[in-house]
C-alpha cells in the first residue's frame, strides 16, 4: 500500500500529469467552443448538423467520451511510456531494486497509480468538456435541457467505467513498450508509432485490426468510435471490453516479467 501511495504522490507532483490532462481538456474545450461560436456556418455545411451534436445534450455526453477515448488514448500511451521509461532512464527503478524491493511488484504498483491517475484525468477532462459543451451550446443558441436527461445520465457510469478501462489499456501498452525499450524516449516513440500504425493497418487488414488494442479500445463504448467513414470495422462493445481486458493484463504481464528478469544497468 505504501508503495502505491508513494507512486500516486510522485505522479501528482509530476509535470507530465498536468500537461497530459491540460492538453486533453484544452483541445476538447477549443473544439467545443469553436463549434458553438461558429454554429451558423457549421449548420450550413454538409454534415454540419452532426458536428453540432457536440454541443447538443444528451448526445454531447457520448461524443465527449468518444473524443476522450480517441485523443485521450494517444495521450495515455505517451504518459504510460513516460512513467515507465523514466524509471529506467533516471535510475529510480535501480535504486528501489537495490533496496530489496520486488521488481514486478514495483512495476505493477507503479502502473496501478498510473491507472488511478488516468481515471482522475478522465473525470476532470469530462467535467471540463461538459462545461465547455454547455458554453458552446449557449454560444450556438442551442437548448441545454438535455443536460439532465435521466437515460443519458443513467448510462454514464457504465460508459465511464468502460472508457477508463480502455484508456488504461492504452496507457498499459505505452508502459510496456517503454519497459521493453528501457527508455522514456524510445517508449514514447514506439508507442506513438504503434498507435498510428494500427490505424494505418486498418485500411488493409480490417478483420484483424479490430482486435488490436487501440481499435478495440475505441469500440468499448457504444457509438463512441472516432470515425473512419465505415472503413474500420468495430467489435461489438461487450466483446471489445473482453479484448481490451486481455490486452491490458497481457501487456502488464509482459512488463512485470521483463522487469523481473532484466539486467538493470545505467
Amino acid at each position: 500500500m505504501r508503495l502505491f501511495v508513494a507512486g500516486l504522490r510522485k505522479l501528482v507532483r509530476r509535470p507530465a500529469s498536468y500537461v497530459s490532462v491540460g492538453l486533453l481538456a484544452g483541445l476538447l474545450s477549443l473544439i467545443l467552443i469553436a463549434v458553438g461560436a461558429t454554429a451558423k456556418q457549421t449548420a450550413e455545411r454538409p454534415n454540419g448538423a452532426a458536428a453540432l451534436l457536440l454541443v447538443t445534450f444528451p448526445q454531447a455526453y457520448t461524443l465527449i467520451l468518444s473524443f476522450i477515448l480517441g485523443l485521450g488514448g494517444l495521450i495515455a500511451v505517451i504518459y504510460g511510456a513516460a512513467v515507465a521509461g523514466s524509471e529506467w532512464n533516471w535510475g529510480t527503478l535501480k535504486a528501489a531494486v537495490a533496496r530489496g524491493e520486488s521488481r514486478s511488484r514495483y512495476a505493477l504498483l507503479t502502473f496501478a497509480s498510473v491507472a488511478l491517475l488516468i481515471g482522475v484525468g478522465l473525470v476532470l477532462a469530462f467535467l471540463v468538456g461538459t462545461l465547455m459543451a454547455v458554453v458552446g451550446a449557449s454560444l450556438a443558441g442551442i437548448s441545454t435541457s438535455g443536460l439532465s436527461n435521466s437515460d443519458a445520465l443513467g448510462r454514464l457510469p457504465d460508459q465511464f467505467g468502460r472508457s477508463w478501462i480502455a484508456v488504461v489499456e492504452e496507457g498499459a501498452l505505452g508502459f510496456t513498450v517503454a519497459t521493453l525499450a528501457r527508455s522514456q524516449l524510445a517508449g514514447i516513440g514506439a508507442g506513438i508509432a504503434l498507435y498510428f500504425g494500427e490505424q494505418f493497418a486498418s485500411i488493409f487488414l480490417p478483420d484483424i485490426v479490430k482486435y488490436l488494442p487501440f481499435n478495440a479500445a475505441t469500440a468499448v463504448v457504444e457509438n463512441a468510435g472516432t470515425g473512419g467513414g465505415g472503413i474500420i470495422q468495430r467489435l461489438e462493445p461487450g466483446l471489445a471490453l473482453w479484448v481490451v481486458l486481455a490486452w491490458l493484463f497481457g501487456s502488464l504481464f509482459v512488463a512485470a516479467l521483463f522487469t523481473e528478469r532484466a539486467d538493470i544497468s545505467g
Binding site: A6, D263, S265
Partner: protein
C-alpha cells in the same frame, strides 16, 4: 545468479564472492572474482576503467545476475530469490538516482516506501546528517552534483544498513564534503558497519580504507590491509641533473634496479621500484658513477602500487595510458608489462 550453496569458511565476512563470472555478450566483465570483505571495515575497491568494479556492485545489489559463482551478503547466500537480504544493505551505484521534479525530502520519502520499512523521521534525520536540511524542500533538478551525491549517500543510509556499498561516493563533493563523508563513513565502520567503497581516487581510498581490493580484467589481483600493501611495494624517487638522466638510468639498470624516468616536466626525476630502506644503496651506486643526487625521497605510493598491479603504468614520456595494459619504459627502453 547461482548463489544456492553456502561458501564454507566465509563466516565473519560481510561480502564474499567465489568464482564470480559475468559476461556481456562476448566481453568478459568478471572472470572468477573472489572477494572477502570482513565485517566492520572500510573496504576500498580499486580498479581501472572497465575492470569490473561497477559490474561487481550491480551483482551485489541484485541489479544483474551472475553467469556463475556464488555471493554471500552478511554471512548468508544471496541469490535471485533473496531480495530481502538487501534490506540490510544500503547502496549508491553509479550516479545517484532521483526524480528531478520532486524535492530532496520527497525523493527520500518515495525511496523509503520501497524495500525495508523505513519511518519518515529517518528521512529528516539523514537530511541533517548530509547537510541538506535547508534545501530539503527544493526540487532535486536545482541541486548541484555534490548535493545530489550527498542526497545519494543519505538514500543509501535510509534503512540504517549493516553493509554500505558506495560507488565513487566522493564524486562531485567539495573538499569539505569529502572530509564530512569520510568522517561519516569512518564513524559507521566504528559502529560495526561494513563500508564497501569503489573509487578511482587513490588518495581518498588511502585515507579512508582499512582493506583494499584491486581488480583488473575481472579478477582480483590483490587484497589485503592497505598498510601491508604499501610497505610491500616501495618506491624511491631520485633527482639528478637533466643531462645525467640517461647515464643514471643505465647505471641503475646495471646495478639491478628497475628505474623509470619521470615525465619531462619533472626535470631530472627518476623513479626506482625498490623498498624505501634501500634508498642509500641507490645513492651510493649513483655516486660511484660520479652522478650526485640533488634530492632523494622514499615513498610508499598507492598510485604506483595500483598502476603496477593493474598494468596501467606511465609511458615514460609524460603521457599516461588510460588502458589497462600500458607499456612501461624501463631504464629508458620500452618493454612489456611487468610480470607479477
Amino acid at each position: 545468479m547461482t548463489a544456492t550453496a553456502t561458501t564454507a569458511g566465509s563466516s565473519g565476512l560481510a561480502v564474499a564472492t567465489r568464482a564470480l563470472h559475468k559476461r556481456y555478450g562476448p566481453r568478459v566483465a568478471l572472470a572468477g572474482l573472489d572477494l572477502s570483505v570482513p565485517n566492520g571495515v572500510v573496504y576500498g575497491f580499486l580498479g581501472p576503467n572497465g575492470a569490473g568494479k561497477t559490474t561487481t556492485m550491480r551483482l551485489l545489489t541484485g541489479l544483474i545476475h551472475a553467469d556463475s559463482g556464488t555471493i554471500e551478503l552478511l554471512g548468508r547466500p544471496f541469490g535471485q530469490g533473496d531480495r530481502r537480504r538487501l534490506f540490510e544493505v544500503g547502496a549508491l551505484i553509479e550516479a545517484p538516482a532521483f526524480y528531478p521534479f520532486l524535492s530532496g525530502r520527497e525523493n527520500l520519502r518515495a525511496l523509503a516506501a520501497t524495500g525495508a520499512p523505513t519511518p519518515w523521521s529517518r528521512v529528516d534525520e539523514l537530511l541533517e546528517v548530509v547537510g541538506l536540511t535547508e534545501r530539503a524542500r527544493d526540487r532535486v533538478s536545482t541541486y548541484s552534483l555534490g548535493m545530489k551525491q550527498r542526497l545519494g549517500i543519505a538514500a543509501a543510509l535510509l534503512s540504517d544498513p549493516k553493509l554500505l556499498l558506495l560507488d565513487e561516493p566522493a564524486n562531485g563533493l567539495d573538499p569539505a564534503g569529502i572530509v564530512a563523508m569520510r568522517d561519516t563513513l569512518r564513524n559507521l565502520a566504528s559502529a560495526g558497519k561494513t563500508v564497501f567503497v569503489s573509487s578511482h581516487i587513490l588518495g581518498e581510498v588511502r585515507q579512508l580504507a582499512d582493506i583494499v581490493g584491486i581488480i583488473a580484467q575481472g579478477r582480483l589481483v590483490r587484497e589485503g590491509p592497505i598498510e601491508e600493501l604499501l610497505t610491500s611495494r616501495g618506491r624511491v624517487r631520485v633527482r639528478v641533473k637533466q643531462d645525467e638522466v640517461g647515464a643514471a638510468l643505465a647505471r641503475l639498470e646495471g646495478g639491478g634496479f628497475r628505474a623509470v624516468q619521470g615525465s619531462t616536466s619533472d626535470d631530472g626525476w627518476l623513479s626506482v621500484a625498490v623498498e624505501g630502506d634501500r634508498a642509500s644503496e641507490i645513492n651510493r651506486s649513483l655516486a660511484q658513477a660520479g652522478i650526485y643526487a640533488s634530492a632523494l625521497t622514499a615513498e610508499t605510493d598507492l598510485e604506483s602500487v595500483f598502476l603496477e598491479l593493474t598494468g596501467a603504468t606511465p609511458t615514460g614520456d609524460g603521457q599516461r595510458s588510460f588502458g589497462s595494459a600500458g607499456a612501461t619504459t624501463v631504464a629508458g627502453q620500452t618493454s612489456g608489462q611487468d610480470p607479477q
